[in-house]
């Protein structure tokens, strides 16, 4: 039986104007990735300063310089509609790679912050 599950992966941004990349592995029993969402513990810094590249199974879904604010949803959006719809992609080897780039913006002052990547997935029930 298939069931919906959400996965969260975090990266830490400790220096201004830096690039941080990481690769995460999805569970083997995940069969589809339906959506993507990015959030942060300091939303304004992610909103104004962030861009990222996201790859799933070595396939690029969002290229370099794609602004993080385009993948964020505020609390005014209904919880069920917050994820960016990918249309149900196969996770392949299950590797999710994010390369996040922090850049100065005149509207924000840097402080270390966390970037969280959420994936809306569908997994096979293990039982």
């Amino acid at each position: 039986m298939l069931k919906a599950t959400k996965k969260r992966f975090d990266i830490k941004i400790t220096q201004a104007n830096s690039t941080v990349g990481d690769t995460f592995e999805l569970d083997k029993n995940i069969v589809k990735v339906h959506g993507v969402l990015v959030t942060s513990d300091k939303d304004d810094l992610l909103y104004y300063r962030g861009t990222q590249k996201i790859e799933i199974n070595k396939e690029e879904f969002f290229p370099d310089n794609y602004e993080s604010k385009l993948l964020m949803s505020g609390i005014n959006v209904a919880p069920k509609h917050r994820y960016y719809d990918l249309g149900g992609v196969s996770p392949g080897n299950g590797r999710v790679q994010i390369t996040y780039n922090d850049l100065d913006d005149g509207r924000s002052i840097f402080a270390p912050y966390r970037v969280s990547l959420y994936l809306d997935c569908e997994m096979e029930d293990e039982l």
């Binding site: 939303d43 310089n65 604010k69 964020m72 100065d104």
Partner: protein, 162 residues
Amino acid sequence: MMKEQVMVTKISVKRQGERKHFQIKLPKNTKFLIGIECGWRLIDKPDAISFKSQLIIGDHSQNLFQRSPLIGELKLQSCEESNWFYSGEVLGAEANLSYGDFSDKGFNVNDCTHGNKRTEEIVKVDAESTIIQGWYLDVLGKSQNADINYEVRVYVWINVEE
């Protein structure tokens, strides 16, 4: 099989009222342009702090419904029959996000926490020639009567054939 992709183009603006002409090169296997999105980033810290706050939260000192700050105008032209197929405005922060919001105590209404979900503007244009001509006009610098250094990003969503 058709696949969606997005192309990112940066436009750097430094002078007030600056006009920029640019080209966006598409991959050869592009079939259609399907959507356009825009974003912008302030590179230098502007000296005028009052204007900076307007760009973040809007000015609600008079409790009036206000227009969002206009950053610039963008037009995109295809070499196909459609010619100018996109003409839009690059806007700053949504100025009326907190309009009529009575819960604005302690958790300030802001684009990054209360903003709506972003979606691309849908277009449907053939992409036989793989080049798009673009035109951008600065309004922000002109309205503030200052040279403001910022960067506009144009996202072109395309359908490619694998």
